[in-house]
Structure formats: C-alpha cells, structure tokens
C-alpha cells in the first residue's frame, strides 16, 4: 500500500505543470553566485532572479531560463571578475536546470509534437499541382498572398495562416489548373518543326527605320545577308525577304542589332510564334556575331505625326549599318519567354562569328508564350544620355539572327496524364452548340460520359486515392460525390460538376494541410514529410506504395529513398527553395544597383542571374558530392561563367555556361560568404553596412542569434566620400552598452567591406560629390560614370576572442577549424526547413547526435541522411 502511494506521488509530480518545478531562483547556488548582481536592486542586465518565475508556458520565460543555462554552461556567468563556483558546484545546478527544461519540452512534444499543424506553402502547392496534374508549366504561386515566415522559413505552422483570401485563391488556382489540363487534352496540335525567319517577325523588321519614338540607331535593327549590308531593304525600297522563291538566299537573310532588350525579354521578340498549347518544345536559333562600323545617322522628327524625319549628320558614336564586317567577339545570349505570366529565363548560349545553329534544348512554354534572345552584354539605353558603352573608335559588336526553329509540342505518355487522372478514358470533345460545358480560351468542351452516376463515383474515388497521400475514406468519397451530384442538380453539366468536385478536393483541408499526428510519424506522413523536404512537393507513387507496404519506416529503405529523391531533378526545387530562405536569395531583385554609383552593374541581368546560379550549383554540388561543411565558408573552387569570372577577377573562363572552376590561390572567393548573390542581398544597392552583413553572417552561416537593437539613432549613410561607414560606426561602438553586441556581430561585416553592393572587390569606396571629378567610363545604361574613388576600405577587425584579421582572406583562415560550428548551423537550418519546427532546447541533444554521426567532415548529404534518420524528422 505504501509503495503504491509513492508510485502515485511520483507519477503525479512528473505530471505537474512546469512552474511547480523547484524554484531555482531561491536556491543556494543562485544566492551565493548570482544574486549580488541579479537581485531586485541591481537587476544587472535587466535580470532580477528573485522575481523571475519558473513558468515555461510563457515563451519569454522559457527563453530566459535557456539563456541562463547557456551563459552558466559556457562559463560566461558568473563573470570572470566575480566569485566563481567550483565545477562540482555548477554541475548540480546545471543538471537540475537541464532536466526541468527538457522535461517541460518533452511533455509538450508528447502531447502536441514539435511541429504545429500547417498548410502547404505557395511553392509546395504549386509543385503539388504540377506533379499531380503532370503540368510542369503551371504558374500559380504568385496568385497567393506571400507566405508568412517564422524562424526564417516558410515551412512553419505558426506563420502559415489561412484567410478568406487563401480560400478564394485555392478555388481559383485549382480551377485554373484543371482547365489548363483540359486544354492540353483538347487541342493536341500535331508536332511540327517550323522555322520562324527573323525577316518575318514584324517586331524585328519594324525597327529597320527610325520613328519619332525611336530615333536612335542603337535601338534600331538592320537587315544583313551574311556580312553584306542591305541598305535598300533597310529603307524598305526592296522587299524584306526574297521569300520562298529563293530558299538558299532566304536561309542566309538575317536581322541584326547592337543593343540588349530595353526591358528584360521585351524588345527583340519573335511575335510570329506563339506556343499553341502549354507543353514541351525544342528550340534552336541560327545566328552569328558581326562588327558594325561607326558613323551612323539619327533622324530628327518634327512631331509625332512626322513619319520620315530629317537625317542629322553622321556621328562617330552611332552604329553605321552600311558598314558591316565579320564579328570579333563571341556574344552571350540569354533566352527568355514572353507573353506568359512572367518572363522566364529558359536557356543561354554563345553566339560566334561563324554562323551556327544553337540548340537550347527542350523548354516548357505556356499557351501563347513566345521567346526572346537577349544579347546580354550589350547596351541598355536609358534616357537622357544615349551612348553605347561598347562603341569603340572603329565600331561596336553586334548580333544577327536568321531564324528561330521550334519543334513541338512534344508528346510523351506524361502529356495527357493529368487528363487521365481526372477523367480516365472518357472522351473530351467540343460541346454541341447551346449545350453547357467547360469554357476554355477558344472553345467550350465537354467530357462525354454514358453513365454519369457510375463515372462520378469511380473517378472521384480514384482521384482521392492519388491526391490525398494516404488511403481516402468512404466518407471522403461520399462527401465529394455528393457535391458533384448537387451541382448537377443545380444545372451544371457533368464536366463542370466534376471540376467543381475536384476543385473542392484541391482546396480541402486533407489536401491543403499536413495533418501529422503527435508521436512517431506513420509511413504516409513520413512519405509526405520526406518529399516536401527534398522535392518541395507531394510524394510520388513510389513513395506512396512503399508507405502502403509499411516499408518506408525501415531505416535502409528510408535511406535509399532519400538518395533517390536527392538524385532526381526535382531535388533542384529543394536547392532553390532552401537557399531562397536560408540565404535570402529570393530577395536578389529587391535592390537595384544605384545608377550614379554603380551603373556598371545596373541592368546587368546576366550578372545577377549568374550570381544566383553560382550559389544554387554550388549547394547542389555539395549535396551531390557530399562535400564537407567547411565549404560553406571556404572552398577552392566555385561555379563561374565568363561574366561572373570577370566580376571575380578570375582569368580564362569563356562563355555563358556556368561550370566548376578552380580558384586562384589568392582569390577571396569560394564559399557562400563571398558569393555575389549573398553580398547583393545583404546590401541595398547603394551602400553596404558591416553591421547588417555581420549580423547576417553570424545568424545564417555561423548560427548565432543576435538580439534586436535597442532604439538608438541610426547611422545616416553618406555617399559624398568624405567619411566611411566604419568611421561613422566607431563612435557608436565606443559606447560600451552598444559594444557588447557589436563586438560580436560586426567583425564578419568588416571583413566583407572589401565587397561592394554587387559583391565586386573594392579597395576604395565609391562616392559622388560635385567637387570631385568622376572616373572616366560609361555604364551599361550608356550614362557616364558619376562616381569617384574615395576613402580606402578598412577590412580589418578583431574577433570577440581577441584574434585579429586584416581582411577577408585572413578572416576565412580564422574560420578554419570551425567545421563543427558550420555543420551545426547547417543542420539547424535543415531541421527547421525539413520538420517545420525550430531546434528547441530539448532538441539540442538530437542535433549533437546528428553531428556526431556525420563526423569528421560533416558532408552535406551525410547531414541530410542523419537528419532524415533522426527522431526529430521521424516524429511530428
């Protein structure tokens, strides 16, 4: 009887609410070592231990106790100049505190799980619909409000709210996607290979002549036959093309130009081609580079009605289209789509002086989209000053295109798989006149069913089975077939009613939410978590069938599947989505390089694109080759193309394709910290701040959280060149209360001061001042440089532990040996991203175990394997 009572009491005490745990604040340890500063009188650091409750349900109280643990554990408290406890005095205090904190969180986890119920985010929803409906071209993410983020990721339940806006968008986005799938099934135009000659594109030939709105030869196009000018064609005295009558000559006719698109993917578009239907197409361009002599003529127009204008005198800085010679350069060409939801970059190649055919491979196009080749190195004219920066004494580089060839739409067994998922073998046809159907852009269609009642249930059952990522219930089938039937009664046709039913499924909580249950995840939930982690989408049939067989929870199977997912092209979505948030790469366009300080970067799409690709390719390579965590800050190679190599001062890299390049020994590049993408997202286009960059590196790369600053006067950026940001900061850092944090977070930012807003190396700051002569030269926009080189950059600093560095190379050396810190941070970021919950106090041990198992190199893929195998990942 007595023993039973004791057992009861124990059981009871472990179930006590956390705040009833032993009051640490009044213990002997705190009295002896803490209260002299942290009592109600001194409240040193704002902490009064005599008034601090132990109420862990209060998130800020929990944070406070964790901070106390961390400071005591690290030996920072009590401070060195005060009475220090002996190790055997600290130990019991620490142990009790750890146990209480762990107990609290573990109980909570048992009850609710680490992760909070969450919905799919916009990326995941878009990918899910693409994969389910075999419609990789779908663009629907931007229809949703931007997802909230917590702990820096868009995968956390706390921040993934739902509102009536989302409900409206789920319905409209799903309905849009379903209609597009019907359109693909309905149209199925035959696959053709068609050459779209440049001379047949009105958008290109209409620029042969100048007009009141475009009086600059720099923005003109011109006809050319191999290396021979065609002034009479240009002046429209001769026909635009010899036409089909003379195929040999026609094949050589080209249209040339000397500038880049005014707006990305706008000016030099092929208007004669529009993708007849969403799908896969193979695209080739035929063209070559040229050299155009100087002495072109611009015309002056009296007014908007004046169509002819008067020629001005020839000018040396303008291209003369009568003086054409063979190209002297290779020119990088980027291919964008046009007329779709947004312009997308779909390919790139190098145009050479010898005419050649360039196959950019297969691309996905939306219905109605066309393509635009952009000579990305060329001038992008902007008012009020029009000068081609590439124009030399004897001329300027030019490109010329003969034709674009499109083969497609290309079909395979996936093309209509989306339709088959919806309607199986039922035929689709144009709805008879006066009969209801589903309205597509150019036709009203209907699915023909001879036995609607039978088909409704059969199709809905199959659809639910595939879409719900776990066996659907009879209740679900009943629920959605009832909706279809109700809509039929309301007067909708079979096809419309079915689409309403499918739309409802795609907006339903079992689809939109993850619905994980507390405790160990079952096979189905694990399949979803794994595919959301590594594909940013829903599980495929292989994962689902392994789940159905109860196999996925076996460690070996889980490992194999992790490898399969990582080796699949869809893992590219993980790379993009993870870096978009971990490294803020989604913000790459948030700032524009200042046109007065940095018009050499302004409008340089090719540079920005290469910068993002570098980071993505580098991370993908880390995963592929299981590269050590230290590569995050220091690698002897990176991915470059000619433009980026030029930016980084790396010699001998030619062409537009990014490839792995071994870096020169003294290069500061290699690793994310010194990549142009990271250096751009941590600047504002005009100035850099060591504080902001330092904080960013501490948090994103090294894994330390920096508390937000107290409200103090901000440092006012000054670009006049008389004072540097460091000189301005020194005053601020001299204040001891500021220094305690700034000493920790600024040093990496000091090292990165050697890099400008686009990540270019600098020894001196650029400034703009009326009394200083600007540097000679012109930017990509044709405007004269407005900046001068001012004060020298000071990139030296001292780490909190006293070690000094003089520049970024030095700083990187100091990070050698920090492999574990880097790995811990990467693991932390991946756990947060992959499980939808941050690494909490009680998860620390699990993260240490992950690290332990990935020793000594902490390879990126090894870390992912260890994470997937861990309890953190395999439990809610």
């Amino acid at each position: 009887m007595k023993s039973r009572f004791v057992f009861m009491a124990l059981a009871f005490s472990s179930a006590l609410p956390a705040h009833a745990a032993p009051p640490f604040a009044s213990g002997a340890f705190t009295e002896k070592y803490c209260l002299s500063c942290h009592d109600s009188e001194s409240k040193s650091g704002g902490l009064d231990l005599t008034a601090l409750p132990f109420d862990l349900d209060d998130a800020s109280n929990l944070r406070r106790w964790i901070a106390i643990y961390d400071r005591v554990q690290a030996g920072e408290m009590p401070p060195k100049n005060k009475k220090r406890p002996a190790p055997d005095e600290i130990k019991p205090f620490i142990q009790r505190l750890v146990a209480s904190l762990n107990d609290y969180e573990t109980q909570k986890t048992t009850r609710e799980g680490r992760a909070l119920q969450r919905r799919l985010n916009g990326y995941e929803y878009e990918n899910a619909l693409r994969d389910l409906l075999s419609a990789p071209w779908l663009q629907i993410k931007d229809q949703f409000p931007e997802d909230g983020e917590a702990y820096r990721f868009n995968k956390i339940g706390n921040a993934l709210d739902v509102s009536h806006v989302h409900m409206a968008r789920y319905i409209s986005a799903a309905e849009y996607a379903l209609r597009e799938v019907l359109a693909v099934q309905f149209r199925q135009p035959p696959t053709t290979t068609r050459r779209h000659y440049a001379r047949d594109q009105k958008t290109l030939t209409s620029k042969f002549t100048q007009n009141p709105f475009n009086s600059s030869p720099d923005r003109q196009t011109y006809p050319v036959l191999e290396w021979q000018a065609q002034p009479k064609v240009r002046s429209l005295e001769e026909p635009l093309s010899v036409g089909e009558a003379d195929p040999t000559t026609r094949e050589k006719e080209a249209v040339g130009w000397v500038s880049s698109n005014y707006v990305t993917g706008f000016t030099y578009r092929w208007d004669g081609f529009r993708a007849p239907v969403a799908g896969r197409y193979r695209v080739r361009f035929s063209g070559y580079t040229l050299w155009v002599g100087p002495g072109g003529i611009s015309r002056s127009f009296a007014n908007g009605a004046d169509k002819i204008g008067k020629p001005r005198a020839p000018q040396k800085h303008l291209p003369n289209f009568d003086e054409i010679s063979k190209g002297r350069t290779n020119e990088p060409i980027t291919v964008y789509t046009r007329n779709g939801v947004k312009n997308r970059r779909v390919g790139a190649f190098d145009l050479s002086p010898e005419p050649a055919i360039h196959d950019i491979g297969e691309v996905w196009l939306l219905s109605g989209e066309t393509l635009v080749p952009d000579a990305s190195r060329f001038y992008r004219s902007r008012p009020p000053d029009f000068r081609n920066p590439l124009m030399q004494e004897d001329g300027a580089p030019s490109v010329a295109f003969r034709w674009m060839e499109v083969e497609g739409p290309l079909y395979d067994d996936k093309t209509t798989a989306g339709y088959r998922l919806l309607f199986g073998d039922l035929p689709l046809r144009e709805a008879p006149k006066g009969k209801r159907g589903v309205a597509l852009a150019d036709a009203t269609v209907e699915v023909v069913s001879s036995n609607p009642q039978h088909d409704i249930e059969r199709l809905m059952r199959r659809f639910l089975q595939r879409v719900y990522r776990r066996p659907s219930t009879e209740n679900d089938v009943r629920l959605f077939t009832a909706l279809v039937n109700e809509r039929l009664k309301a007067g909708l046709s079979f096809s419309e009613a079915m689409l309403a039913g499918y739309t409802a499924v795609l907006a339903s909580p079992k689809f939109v939410y993850l619905n994980e249950q507390p405790g160990r995840l079952d096979d189905y939930a694990l399949a979803t978590r794994l595919s959301l982690f590594l594909w940013n989408s829903l599980p495929d049939e292989t994962l689902l069938s392994l789940a159905a067989q109860g196999q996925l929870n076996r460690s070996q199977v889980l490992r194999e599947q992790t490898d399969r997912l990582l080796n699949d092209p869809k893992a590219g979505r993980f790379v993009e989505a993870f870096l978009d948030y971990w490294l803020d790469l989604r913000k790459i366009e948030d700032s524009t390089p200042s046109t007065t300080l940095y018009n050499d970067y302004y409008l340089d799409d090719a540079l920005t694109e290469a910068a993002v690709l570098e980071s993505q390719l580098f991370f993908a390579d880390m995963l592929k080759r299981d590269l050590a965590a230290r590569n995050i800050v220091d690698a002897d190679y990176t991915f470059l193309n000619e433009r980026l190599a030029q930016h980084y001062n790396v010699p001998d890299v030619k062409g537009t394709a990014l490839r792995p390049v071994k870096l020169p020994a003294d290069s500061p590049r290699g690793g994310f910290m010194t990549q142009a993408s990271v250096l751009k997202v941590t600047a504002n286009g005009t100035t850099t701040s060591p504080v902001l960059r330092g904080k960013w590196i501490m948090e994103r790369i090294l894994g330390y959280e920096i508390p937000p600053p107290p409200p103090v006067a901000a440092v006012e950026p000054d670009i006049r060149g008389a004072v540097t940001i460091r000189q301005q900061l020194d005053k601020h850092r001299a204040d001891p209360s500021c220094a305690s944090c700034h000493n920790r977070m600024d040093p990496p930012g000091f090292a990165l001061e050697s890099f400008d807003v686009m990540g270019g190396w600098r020894d001196k700051y650029r400034g703009v001042a009326d009394d200083k002569a600007p540097v000679a030269g012109r930017g990509k926009n044709g405007h004269k440089f407005a900046f001068h080189y001012g004060l020298p950059v000071d990139s030296a600093g001292v780490l909190p532990d006293g070690r000094a560095f003089s520049d970024i190379r030095d700083f990187k050396k100091l990070l050698r040996g920090e492999d574990e810190t880097l790995a811990r941070n990467l693991a932390k970021q991946l756990v947060t991203y992959g499980t939808g919950a941050p690494v909490r106090f009680s998860d620390r041990a699990a993260v240490e175990k992950i690290l332990q198992n990935a020793k000594p190199h902490y390879g990126a893929r090894s870390l992912i394997h260890q994470i997937v195998q861990s309890d953190l990942f395999r439990s809610k």
Binding site: E112, R119, D142, G148, E486, S508, Y513
Partner: protein
C-alpha cells in the same frame, strides 16, 4: 421615395448620378480572386450604417518625403506652411499635418510599409505577424453597405499591401486601374450575370463541402493544431459570407459613370502617371459609393528610373531615396516629392469639387497620406510624415509632438474610426484618440 432608395436591410443605394444606362455586352467576367474585397459577415455598428456616409482613403508613399522640406517649423493653427505643404496651400483649412508621430515599436525599415495601417510591431523580425488594418476593420463593420466593402489598390505592386485581414494575411493589391474600373462600373449581360451567379453558387457549395471535412478533422487533434484548423474553418465561413453578399450585388445594376475606362501607363517608370490614374479611380469609387474604404500603396522601392515630363531623373527612385546627402540626388528627389504633393492636392480638389447632399465629398472622406519612413536615407520609421485631410474634422493646424519621444499614431486611427461612427476606443497600440484633433 424611401422605398426606391432602400433596396433591402442595411443596403443603401445612392441616388443615380445620371440617367441609368447599361453598358451591355462589355465582355467582363467577375473572377473569384476579386471577391476577397467583398462583403463581410455582418454590419455591427448601427450608427455607422444609418448616418451620412463616411469614408476613408489611406495612402502610403513607402519611400517617404524629405523631412526637412515636409515638416513645418512651428506648431498650431498659425503655422507657416513648409515648402512641400505650400503645394497644398489651397486646402490649408482642410487638412491637419502631424509631426513627432509614429507607430510604437514599428521598426525594421522597408518592411514597415505593410504596418502603415496596422501598426503591428517589429515588421522586420523573423517571427513578425501582421494584424488587421484600419480599412479592413472598417470594412468588417460597414462593408456590407457597398458593393465592395473595401478596395485595396497599389501602384507598381501586386504584392505589397496596406490591407491585412484579422489573421494577418495580406489582401493583394490591384494595380491595373482599367480592370478595377470594369469591376466597379461595367454592367455584364444577363447571361454573364447568370453565369456569375452560378459560379458564386458553385463556390459556396465547394466551401460547404470542405467545411464539413474540416469539422471532421478538428475532432481528433490537440489544442494548438485545432486552432490552426479553426482558422481554416472560419476562413471558409468568411468567404461564404462574401460570396453570398456578392450574389446579392450581382443582381443589382452597377453605377453608371460618364468617364471612359482608364488607360494604365504601360511601364513602371511612369510611376507618377500611374498614381494619378489610381487617384482618379479612387475618387470615382468614392463618388459612386462603390466602397467606403480604400487603401493605396505607392510602391517606390522597386521602381526603376522614373520618367517624368520636364524633369531630368538619372537614378532609380529607391536609390535616390538613399541620397547619402548628395545634393544632386536630393534635388531629383525633391522634384518627385513635389509631384507627389501636387497629385495629392489634385485628389483633394477633385473630392472637394464633388457635392454630396449639403457637403462636399471631401467633407465626408478622410484622406490619410503618409509614409512608414520618417527619413528614407536613414531608414528610420519614427517621425512619420502624416497628413489627414477632410472627413469632418476641424483642420487647418499643425499638431506637433515630441520628435525624440513620438506620440502614438494609432491614436489617429481611433479618431478616424469614431468619425466613421464606429464605437471603438482602441486600435493596435493606441492610447486614446488623437490629442488636439476635434470633429467638425
């Protein structure tokens, strides 16, 4: 007479402004996405639904204005107009300018623009969560009175929004004036209306179905997970209410206006032209009582080099705002700022010139103009430049507060709510009503 003016409980239809004429076959289709601006559940504020119509327009210029040229030097009713306010001279008696005001704890630089009408703290922090905006709060109370409970507009943005739901979700702004115009004024054909009604009904059936599943799921989950599902459930009910209300409006003819469909300037560089088009549209929406709460985000952050007739601009708008004390940049910024003030003056003049009953539209429309930035160059979000014009207050003064320790701007929102006839004594971090601002 009464019966022709009141078509149903709480639904007040204005006198026709001109002979009714239906623009038939204009080829419009109301799409579901636009419905998010549609009706709320119930109208609660009895007074607000019966008194004379009161409206608000909230405008945020998210790059701010040069503070030294905006703020007047002295306070009170006899204050001397600052260089920028000089441009609003003709409206001096119709607006109040505020200084030394800001949203408490709203920091973080650029991200703070989305808090302009919400005052939710720490928008730059990684766990930031926005709260309901002033216009959406108003729409919840009186939105049922108009075809659109609110209009969320943007210039050069379809993402950065001033309007936020109670669950902290942005209502994406509409930035194409022509499209909004069609939604507001172009009458569909009978068959289009019927198709639209059927579409709304299908939407409601879909919502009923998913709500039933949500109820089932809610049964077996823990407390915190259930709260997330509750949010889904109430979102469904919210949209259902809106679909129901818009079904009612679908059967009523739209107001007729005599102006042509606006033409949206094609390029983001025509930022200032776009602002004018959007202001004109806002005025038209107010004039036809299509809505009583409008927000307009002037998104300068991502704007390219602006093209302004007669002004030589060489640098991107955003970069100009980081002028770094460069005189050249400041001069260009000043030209842009002045144009902002002129466009605002034109909007106020247009509202003033339109009569509604005994008063001008301006007398019944609160126009709140300001910025999240006190100074874009330093990215500070204190000392927000703020103007409130019209709407039925005793204006003509400069209410100056402490520049070092700011007065809470949310107090102005409380004053505005009360002026709307909504009984409310708190909004976000307010501490009362705006000190020194009295109703006319």
């Amino acid at each position: 007479m009464e019966s022709s003016r009141f078509h149903g409980p709480f639904v007040h239809v204005r006198e026709p402004i001109s002979r009714r004429r239906f623009l038939r076959g204009a080829g419009i289709a109301l799409s579901l996405p636009f419905l998010e601006a549609m009706l709320p559940r119930v109208a609660r504020a009895a007074e607000a639904t019966t008194g004379k119509p009161r409206r608000m327009i909230g405008i945020c210029n998210n790059l701010g204005l040069l503070p030294d040229l905006f703020f007047p030097k002295n306070a009170g009713r006899d204050y001397a107009l600052s260089p920028y306010l000089e441009m609003l001279k003709e409206h001096r008696r119709d607006f109040t300018v505020f200084s030394g005001v800001s949203h408490p704890n709203v920091d973080g630089g650029h991200p703070a623009d989305v808090c302009f009408l919400t005052a939710a703290p720490h928008p730059g922090s990684s766990s930031f969560r926005n709260t309901i905006s002033l216009d959406q709060f108003i729409a919840e109370q009186i939105g049922i009175l108009t075809r659109f409970p609110s209009l969320t507009l943007g210039v050069n943005t379809r993402t950065r929004s001033l309007s936020w739901t109670g669950t902290g979700v942005a209502i994406p702004p509409e930035d194409k004036a022509a499209e909004v115009f069609k939604q507001l004024f172009l009458q569909g054909t009978q068959s289009q209306i019927e198709a639209q009604i059927q579409k709304l009904d299908t939407g409601r059936s879909i919502l009923d179905t998913v709500a039933e599943q949500a109820k089932e799921l809610q049964r077996d989950v823990g407390k915190r997970d259930r709260e997330r599902l509750d949010q889904y459930f109430s979102s469904v009910r919210d949209l259902e209410g809106r679909l129901k209300a818009s079904r009612g409006w679908e059967q009523k003819p739209k107001p007729v206006v005599k102006v042509p469909v606006p033409v949206d300037p094609a390029t983001p560089a025509a930022f200032m032209d776009k602002i004018k088009v959007i202001y004109d549209l806002a005025k038209l929406a107010i004039e036809t009582d299509s809505t009583r709460a409008i927000t307009i985000m002037l998104e300068g952050v991502s704007a390219p080099v602006l093209e302004i007739e007669g002004v030589k601009i060489t640098d991107g708008y955003h970069n100009l705002s980081h002028h770094g004390k460069s005189e050249n940049k400041r001069a260009q910024l000043k030209a842009i700022d002045e144009l902002h003030m002129k466009l605002l003056a034109d909007l106020l003049a247009a509202l003033k010139a339109t009569r509604e009953g005994e008063e001008s539209l301006l007398d019944r429309t609160m126009v709140l103009y300001g910025s999240n930035f006190g100074d874009a160059n330093t990215h500070v979000t204190t000392n927000m430049p703020t103007i409130l014009a019209g709407g039925g207050f005793k204006h003509g003064q400069h209410l100056a507060f402490d520049k070092m320790s700011n007065y809470p701007l949310p107090n102005l929102f409380v004053s505005m709510l009360q002026r709307m006839g909504i009984e409310r004594d708190k909004f976000a971090s307010s501490t009362g009503t705006m000190r020194g601002l009295e109703m006319a």
